[in-house]
Amino acid sequence: MDIHSFFKYYIKIRKGEQEQNMENALIAPAQYVFLFIPTIIFSLLIPIIGVAIFAYIMALRMAPLAKAAPDKRFDQIPQRIFNVLKIWLAQYRQPRYRTAGIVHIVIFFGFLILSIRSCSLVIIGLAPDFVMPGFDGVIGHIYNVLKDYAATGVLIACCIAAWRRVVVKPARYAVPAKYGKDHTAEALFVLGLISTLMISESLFEATEVAANAKAGLHVEFLAPLSLVWFFRLMLMAASEGVLQGLHIIAYYIHDLTFFFFLCFLPLGKHFHVITSLFNVFFMRVRRGNIKPVRYGIDEDALDQLESFGVKKIEDFTWKHLLDFYSCADCGRCSDNCPANAVGRPLSPRFISIKGRDTLFKNYPIYPYGAAFKKSEPLIGSVYEEDEIWSCTTCGACEQECPIGIEYIDKIVDLRRGMVDEGLVPQSLQKPLKAIEKRGNPWGKMEKKRAEWTSGLPEGVTVKDITKEPADMLYFVDSITSYDDRMQSIGQATAMILAKGGADFGILGKDEKDAGNEIRRFGEEMLFQNVKQMNTEAILESGATRIVTADPHAYNVLKNDYTGLPPVTHISQFIAQSVKSGALRLKSAQDNKVYTYHDPCYLGRHNDVYDDPRAALDAISGLKRVEMERCGDRSFCCGGGGLMLFYEPEEEQRMGVLRVEMAAKAGANVIVTACPFCLVNMEDAIKVAGLEGQMEAIDLSELVAQHLA
C-alpha cells in the first residue's frame, strides 16, 4: 500500500466524523489518525518537549548573567523605551547597510507578523477551530492577507540572504583563520529553517483552501501572488488524498521546525532573535563616559576592591554578557573599526564571538547536568594583550551596531584588569609613569606648562587664573601645552577667545593631564588622581565656564568629571560668537578645497557635528567638501592621548587611510578640531607622500588666520 492509498483509506474512515464539520474538506491535525495513532498526541508532545528543552537551555544561558558583575540599566526608562521603538522596532540602524538592511527589515517584520500565526498554529494542532482572540472579524481577514505577504516576503528575503552568503560574500562576513571556522554553514542552515517555516505554513493553508475549493466549500481569500496563493494554484490538480497528506505533513513539519528553531536560537548567533529586544532596552544611554570600575562602589572606596577590571568572563557586567549572546555576527562593527581596517589584531565582532563561545563552553548545556567549567584568565587564552590595546576607543563600532552592543567599556574593563596584573606594554609604561610624576605623558616640567603663551602676538594676554580671577577657564591640556607644533593651537585659541571678548585664564602649572586616555587605558587610580587635582584647581579658580580646544579634554571634563562648570569646545565658542556678532571673520583668500574631519571625541562621543562646520562656513568663500565617511561615520585618525605612545602591530596607519579619503573627496586641506588628529594627519600626509598636495590645519588655527 503506497502512502496515497494510506491517506485515502483513513480519510474514508474519518469521513463520518467530518460530516458534522462541513466547513473543511480536510481533516485537521487535531483529529487526524495515522496508523491508529491520533496525531493530536504529536500536537501536544512537540510543544511540551520543545518548551521544556527551551526552558532548560535558557536557564543555563542565564546562569553566567546571575554571576556577572552588577550593572546599572534600569535608569532613564523613557529614553530606553524610545531606543526600543527606534532601534529595535523601527530598525533605525539597519539601512546604513542598504541591501542587508532591507533584507533584515523584511525578515524582522515578517517574524513579528508571523509570530501570531505560529502561536495560533500550535494551538490549532490541539483545537482545530481555534482563532486568536480578536482575530475573528475583519482584523483576522486583514491579518491573513498580511501574514501571507509576510511569509512570501520572508522567503524571498531568505533567498536573497542566502545568495549574498554564497555568491556575493560581503567581506565583512568573512572569518579570518585565527578566529576559527567560517560561519556560512550556520547562517545557511538557519535561512533553511526559516524558509521551511514559511513554506510549511503556506502549504498547510494552501492544501486546505485547495481541498475546500475543489469540494465547493467556503474558500478563505488568499492574498494574490503570495506564496500560499501560488501553492493553491499548483495544488488544484492534486487529489484529495494528496492534499490531506500534505496538509498533515506540512503541519507537523511546521510544528517541529518551529520548536526546533526555538531551541536552536540560544545555541548561536541567532540568539539575537530573542535577546535583541532586551539588549536594545538595556543599551548605553549616556555617551562619552566610561563605566565605573564597579557599579555600587564609590570612587573613594575603590581601594577596598580586591581586583580591578575584567580578568575572567564573569567579571564582565551582566549587560556585557548579554551583548555577547546578542551579537548577530553581522560584522558591521568590524567593518567600521579603524583598528581592523589597518590590520591591527582587533576585530570587535570577534570580541563578542569569542566571549560568547567562552560562555557556551564554560556553561555547557550538553550533556545534561554537566558541571560549569572554572573560568580561566581571559587574557592570553581568549583575548590577546595587543588585541585589547589596539582599540582607539573611537566608538565607530557602537555607533553602527544595530542592536546596541558596546565595546569601549568592555575594552576599558579588560585593560583595567591588565593594568592591575601589571600587563602594560613598555611603550605605555613610560608615559603613565611620567603622568604620575609630572602630570603629563612626556614628563616635561610642570613649570613649563604655560610656556606656549610666550609665543602669543602683541595684545593677546592670557591670565594665570590661579592668581587673577577670570570668568572662563581655558583648559589647555598636555599636548597643546608642550608639543612644539600643537602650541600653535593654544595660541590660536587664545587669540580667538580674546577677540571674542572672553575674560579667560589658564591654570598653568596647576593643570594636569585631563586624563581622557588615562581612564580609557585602564589606569583608573591614576585617572582618579589627576581628576581630583584638576577638579580642585578648577573649582578653586572660580571660573564659571570652561573652554578647551582639545576634544579629549572636552569629553573627559564633560562626561567623566563631576561637579564642574559647563564645558564648551572652541568650535562651539566660535559658532556662537559668529552668530552673536562677537566674532567677525574675513573671507577666504585662496582657492583651496577644504574638508572637515570629525574628531571621534567631538563627533561620535558628543554629537558636535554642526558647530565646527558652521565655524568653517563663517569664512565666506571657503570651499568645503565632505568626505564619504563624515559625521557619525567619521574614521579615526589613529587615536590620541596615550595612543600616540603605543606601538601597535599594523600594516598601515589609520591616518594614511584618512588622508587618502580626503584626497578622494577632492580636498587639499584637512581641517580638524583636535590636536591629536592634527599630529596624526600631518604624519600621515608625510607617510602617504602627499606633501605639497595635502595639508592639515586645526580649526582654531584657520579661524585665527581669518580673524577680522
Binding site: 575603590l302 581601594d303 580591578f308 593594568v419 592591575d420 596584573e421 601589571g422 600587563l423 602594560v424 606594554p425 613598555q426 605605555l428 609604561q429 613610560k430 603613565l432 609613569k433 611620567a434 604620575e436 610624576k437 609630572r438 614628563g443 616635561k444 616640567m445 613649570k447 612644539d484 607644533r485 589606569e523 583608573e524 587610580m525 591614576l526 588622581n529
Partner: protein, 262 residues
C-alpha cells in the same frame, strides 16, 4: 630560591631636565623627580619570574635615605616579598666600595642563593655588582640578558660584541648584574603601591649590619667627586638645534653629504 635584588633610587632622566648647579658640585636637584633605576626594574622582574617558576622568595634592598623607601614599595608592588632599607647618617656619601661593603653585610645577615643588581645605574659607574661579588667571594656574571635555573646552577646568557650571544653555566650562590631587555618589567600603578603601603620595611643601621663605620660613608670614601660640568663643544662637533623635525632634516642632510646615506 631566595633572591636578593639590590636597587637604587635615581633622578629620572626621562622626566627631568638635568642641569649642573652653579658651583659645579652636583646637579640641580630642586625640580627633580626620582624613580627606580631602570636596570633594577629588570633585575626585580627577573627575580620574580625565577621565584614564580621554582619557588622561593625575593627581597629587595636599597641604600639611601627615608625617601628611598618609595622605590622599595614600588618593587614590592611588582611582587617582591619583602624589602630592606639600609639607612644611616654614617652611610651617606658612600662610594662604590662603601655601597658594596654595606650590601655584603646585608647578604651575610640573610641567606640568599642569588644576588641580582642592575647592570648599572643612571647616575652610577656600574661597579657595585662586581665589587660585591669579589667581597663575598661569589662567582659573578655581568650584563646578563638570560637566566635559566638548572638545579643548583644557573645558565646565564650575555650579549657580547657584535650582538653575539654567549652562554655560561654559573654555580650558586652567585651575583649577576642584569641588562635591560632581559624581560618586560610589569607595570606598577598607584593601586599596587597602595596595596603594600602598610607592609613593614625594616631599616638597618650600622649596629644591625655590624659594619665598621669608618669603611663606609664619607669617612670611608676613597673615590671623591671633584667636578661636574657640561663639556665644551670640541672641534668638529656641532649641536643641531630647532624642532625635532628640523634636527632630523639637518641630520639626514649631513649624513647624505658625508656619504653615510645613499
Amino acid at each position: 630560591m631566595d633572591i636578593l635584588v639590590c636597587v637604587k633610587r635615581v633622578p629620572d632622566t626621562a622626566e627631568n631636565e638635568i642641569e649642573v648647579n652653579k658651583s659645579g658640585s652636583d646637579i640641580e636637584r630642586d625640580d627633580l623627580v626620582y624613580s627606580v633605576n631602570e636596570w633594577d626594574n629588570y633585575a626585580v622582574e627577573e627575580a620574580i619570574q625565577i621565584r614564580d617558576n621554582v619557588g622561593g622568595t625575593v627581597t629587595v634592598v636599597t641604600i639611601g635615605d627615608d625617601e628611598s623607601e618609595e622605590v622599595l614599595r614600588r618593587e614590592m608592588a611588582m611582587g617582591a616579598d619583602s624589602g630592606i632599607l639600609v639607612s644611616d647618617k654614617a652611610f651617606e656619601g658612600s662610594d662604590g666600595k662603601g655601597i658594596a661593603t654595606l650590601l655584603k653585610a646585608v647578604v651575610e645577615k640573610g641567606k640568599y642563593d642569588l644576588i641580582l643588581t642592575g647592570a648599572q645605574a643612571d647616575d652610577g659607574a656600574g661597579q657595585v655588582g662586581g665589587m660585591l661579588a669579589a667581597m663575598l667571594d661569589y662567582p659573578y656574571a655581568s650584563l646578563v640578558n638570560k637566566v635559566e635555573v638548572k638545579g643548583d646552577a644557573l645558565t646565564v646568557g650575555r650579549e657580547i660584541e657584535g650582538g653575539n650571544q654567549e652562554m655560561n653555566e654559573i654555580s650558586l650562590p652567585c651575583v649577576l648584574s642584569i641588562q635591560t631587555g632581559i624581560n618586560e618589567p610589569r607595570y606598577v600603578g598607584i593601586r599596587g603601591i597602595r596595596k603594600v603601603a602598610s607592609v613593614e620595611i625594616p631599616t638597618y643601621g650600622p649596629g644591625d649590619l655590624g659594619v665598621d663605620a669608618s669603611l663606609v660613608g664619607t669617612a670611608g670614601e676613597k673615590v671623591k667627586r671633584l667636578d661636574y660640568f657640561v663639556p665644551v663643544l670640541g672641534e668638529g662637533a656641532e649641536m643641531l638645534e630647532g624642532s625635532t623635525e628640523d634636527i632630523i632634516a639637518k641630520l639626514i642632510e649631513y649624513l647624505k653629504a658625508k656619504g653615510g646615506l645613499k
